[in-house]
């Protein structure tokens, strides 16, 4: 249905995209040059322009990413934190696109916008599905994003030694309860305590 006749240039397209992801992830948007990407893919820089229009088009194509968030309604309420932590860590470990997007977002407005879109269209709905009050979902999801992106930043971009060396399971063990509280808990309460006894100061317009 969606697939059309396979073109002869599909291999080239894929090679460009793979090289672009690698470069964008390693160098960020501005320092990843089209020439360098083309060289990595062993093709001419012109091809990049032909297939992706311009550098921003290439970045847009190369930073397309699906968080593949699990359906949180299907997991036990008290496990969503650990589940999220594990999922994000796995996702980050085996897809350099995530790092490319994060590095880009720091300096490139288009990349930042894309992250915001991902937040709104993927993370927010997933969190909303398993948080108590729907009106609080945006704030709670944003807190989740802050911890997840922060951990990724320190571990994969800034490479702060202690968190780089930390075992993945330990990172998950620490982040899990944090995310759990952000999704289902209240500010001053631990999730295992059950329902919040206090209206949380989260503005839900």
């Amino acid at each position: 249905m969606t697939q059309s006749k396979p073109r002869r240039s599909d291999a080239t397209r894929a090679a460009i995209l793979a090289a672009a992801r690698e470069r964008f992830a390693a160098d960020g948007y501005e320092r990843a040059t089209i020439r360098a990407i083309a060289a990595d893919a062993s093709i001419d820089p012109t091809m990049v322009m032909r297939y992706y229009g311009n550098k921003e088009g290439l970045f847009t194509a190369a930073s397309e990413v699906d968080l593949r968030l699990p359906d949180l309604t299907a997991v036990p309420a008290q496990d969503v934190g650990a589940r999220l932590a594990r999922h994000f860590l796995d996702r980050w470990e085996d897809d350099e696109t995530m790092a490319a997007l994060l590095r880009g977002g720091a300096t490139n407005e288009r990349a930042a916008q894309r992250i915001r879109e991902m937040f709104a269209s993927q993370l927010l709905p997933a969190v909303a599905a398993s948080c108590p009050d729907p009106a609080q979902a945006p704030g709670r999801a944003a807190l989740v994003a802050s911890q997840v992106l922060g951990a990724a930043l320190c571990r994969y971009v800034l490479r702060i030694p202690p968190i780089v060396e930390m075992a993945a399971d330990d990172v998950i063990a620490w982040l899990g309860p944090t995310l759990q509280r952000y999704v289902t808990g209240s500010p001053e309460q631990h999730p295992s305590h059950g329902q919040p006894r206090d209206p949380s100061p989260m503005g839900g317009r």
Copy 2:
């Protein structure tokens, strides 16, 4: 002692530095050009070179920042989380140097290195002073960094709407307990529970 004869060019130097901080904070390292900075300061680009050697020297000077962390041994053990959260938020709100450094760190290796140095020389000792086992300090401090930097990233750089609109006090109310657990708690336990009943999976050394 440290001060020498006040030079006639001190005003220029300061103007350059102020403009540089602003540009680096707004655009990141690569997109903040020396020409633009010089234009903001209403001086010639050559002056930048004369006084700071090169672009990296300028960035080094412009991104010099003191976290001004409070002495955590002087605050009640159960308040360190909230204290840290408030301090960092305040710090970030009124000093664009922090944002400059964060934006730079995403793409510029020198900036990233500087953040690592700040972590090791400022945050780590502060956390170590009030965490149970000194061997765990690096891991705990890194977790603190991940949440603090992540929140700053989402709020001041990526500008993810819900956390941008959130009141500062609410952010503090949410981050406080998280930081508290990272500093004094155990992975699966809330800080208010007191001592950990379980050796935490945090590798010392």
